[in-house]
Amino acid sequence: MKAYMDNAATTRLSETARRAMEPYYDEIYGNPSSLHGWGQAASAALQDARERVAVCLGADPKEIYFTSGGSEADNQAIQSAAWLGAAKGKKHIITGAVEHHAVLHTVEALAKDGFDVTVLPVEAETGLVRLADLEAALRSDTALVTVMTANNEIGTVQPIAEIGALLRARKIVFHTDAVQAVGHIPVDVRALNVDMLSLSGHKFHGPKGTGALYCRKGVPLRALLLGGAQERNRRAGTENIPAVIGMAAALEEATAELAEAGQRVAGYRDQLIAGLEQIERSHLNGARQNRLPGNVNFCFEGLEGESLLLLLDSKGIAASSGSACTSGSLEPSHVLLAIGRPHEIAHGSLRLSLSRYTTQAEIDHALREIPRVVQYLREMSPVWENIMKASNLK
């Protein structure tokens, strides 16, 4: 029995997306910048993909810029808004403590270049940004606020529309990293009041190496990559046509199935949460309401996440962890620390991320194996032994 539960890392390509891409490798392979028929056919396909992506987001096609992925879109949005702000004397950036590294590291780099950065704390357990904190942090020289739509680790969905309304009224540029949200929950750029939004194709069953940046009409955007005039001078380089077509097809499909799939996946999520909460000394990370339909994240006291992850892999279950050992650094996940988990508990985290392909059989398999593996690791853990001794003394 196999259960792929690491869809927040990446998803399988949908059949629809794969079929949509096929003609663009060896039939319609022209360069969209070329004037001949081959090129114009590719150019038409690119324009069509742009329109379809725009429709899914409630945007205008002219507001969509294709990129190599979510990280590039985040980098471009943030660097552009920061430097255009600096040109007007605004050198203050606000972000949140649980952002993805594509955002945090970009903002940290800007801090080294002389920008002032405020990192908003988040509510314990849920990881929600508080509007009052944001409002208190705003300054007359704030160039940009960037807050993610949904968290990649703990699935918390932020109050983006409210944040957007607050910032729109003050004419402050607002970017959101919606990489985990698009294709999974309704994302409408007008309803969210955002100026810029990043998305990634492979998070909703599109191909890897694709992404897009929405940039609202009237909000200036600087290029990150210089060269040709592609993407209306905002992103040089010959477009990855097959991948862009695949992403558009995948997004259309995900959007069409969103309501039905979202409900079914949330049901699976709730089964997992209810089952794993039965394990003693387990803690749900992230919000119970405002949560992505496919995200489950727990800390289990007395064990370490990498061991848990690799033992589950040996049982056919693909998951992920925010332990130090899985991150390649010595610190556990900044997200788990930001929501108030102590280091020793943050090391014992497990993320299960579902997709619309997840089956009841996979859920059953996970609910059978995870408690056993947790028990096994705890039995060999001196930390667990101490926890049990301390609780017996009480």
Binding site: S307, A324, C325, H343, V383, W384
Partner: protein
């Protein structure tokens, strides 16, 4: 992560897991904040390590190095046990990823801490230099400096 087959074998099927009742020496090193703790139990008869068990909280390489370290010392005279090095543990496991080398240092320290505890409990005199720095240095820090 790139673990060797031997590391995966000792992780999935660790040898010598458990506790020894009335152990002659117990050593515990590491810290939960950093994500790994190892506890080693020794049984000594006539100066020979007749049994050894461990309990470990940590990643796959922490469990595998504990398992291999206990395998390497089992049945040896206690004095010889002190010759165990983290390098020997790493070699016996066909290598560890660089970021995981501190686990092998921890395994060596856990074994030595258990021997020291055995000496202390049985009133056996020893040169303190043998255990110099034990439990003081942060194995993470030590590796990073390399």
């Amino acid at each position: 992560m790139g673990y060797s087959e031997k590391v995966m074998d000792h992780f999935i099927n660790p040898r010598n897991v458990g506790e020894i009742e009335n152990a002659d020496g117990i050593g515990e090193v590491g810290n939960a904040r950093c994500g790994d703790i190892m506890k080693v139990y020794l049984k000594v008869d006539d100066g020979v390590l007749t049994d050894v068990k461990f309990k470990t909280f940590g990643c796959a390489s922490a469990i595998a190095t504990s398992s291999m370290a206990t395998e390497l010392i089992k049945g040896k005279p206690v004095a010889q046990v002190l010759e165990l090095t983290n390098r020997a543990v790493v070699e016996a496991l066909d290598g560890l990823p660089p970021v995981k080398l501190h686990c092998s240092v921890l395994a060596e320290e856990a074994v030595k801490a258990a021997v020291k505890d055995y000496y202390d409990r049985s009133g056996i005199a020893y040169d303190p230099a043998l255990f110099a720095g034990l439990g003081e240095e942060d194995p993470h820090g030590a590796i990073e400096e390399e």
